[in-house]
């Protein structure tokens, strides 16, 4: 590999094997030839319909649509995120309850409840959910979201911004 710095009329260029990879102007501003920001694993899944919840039964939420999935790691059939890069992930989920009676939204890692994303109050409809930081091994670890309510209810109200599950890699 050959790295060279060449002066130009307005500054200089840095070349790698004859191709410009960085341009520096007279004020020191650096412009890369490609985006400096790496593609970070991220996904956005949602449910734009409704889902029935049996009384007192922890039920996996059906996030069967994707808005984004940079690594093709979200499964819209099993409603499961299995990232392919190891690291710490910020995970968010929100669920629309048409009525609440001791509601819980839970993050399951490898089929085990590891984090209560949210849940409070009884009686009124409203959003339940929250965020968590979770380490994922990048191979076999997977995440799912479950919801609970003492009484049988319907979740969602037919809009994509009411029931969602998303996340992204924060640090390796």
């Amino acid at each position: 590999m050959t790295i060279s710095i060449k002066p130009t009329a307005s500054g200089s260029t840095i070349e790698q094997d004859g191709s410009t990879i960085l341009t520096v102007d007279g004020s020191g501003n650096i412009t890369p030839s490609n985006n400096l920001y790496p593609k970070v694993p991220a996904f956005i899944a949602y449910n734009d319909g409704t889902q029935s919840l049996s009384a007192a039964t922890s039920t996996k939420l059906v996030f069967d649509h994707e808005e984004a999935d940079t690594e093709n790691a979200y499964d819209t059939t099993n409603y499961r995120y299995t990232p392919t890069v190891a690291g710490y992930y910020q995970i968010n989920a929100k669920v629309y309850y048409t009525a609440t009676s001791n509601p819980f939204v839970m993050l399951f890692k490898n089929s085990t409840n590891v984090n209560r994303l949210g849940g409070a109050g009884s009686g009124a409809l409203g959003m339940q959910g929250g965020s968590a930081l979770v380490y994922m091994n990048g191979t076999t670890d997977y995440l799912e979201v479950y919801a609970y309510n003492n009484l049988a209810i319907t979740l969602g109200a037919g809009a994509s911004n009411l029931m969602y599950f998303n996340g992204f890699l924060v640090s390796v």
Partner: protein
């Protein structure tokens, strides 16, 4: 009749607190078409119902 309804019919002393995430009984549904099932049963005095018992409740 749901699984929760069958269990609370069989054991009328149970309350919703027993089934909450901090409770001793966990019912689960994995949204895979197989329906509700008993994921965990750690109740200190009541025995986990058998499938025959559950099937016998109408």
């Amino acid at each position: 009749m749901t699984l929760y309804e069958k269990i609370t019919t069989l054991y009328t002393e149970l309350t919703s607190d027993d089934f909450a995430p901090e409770g001793t009984i966990m019912l689960q549904n994995d949204s895979d078409g197989k329906g509700d099932y008993i994921k965990e049963w750690n109740h200190p005095t009541l025995a986990k119902p058998t499938q025959e018992q559950l099937d016998g409740i109408q």
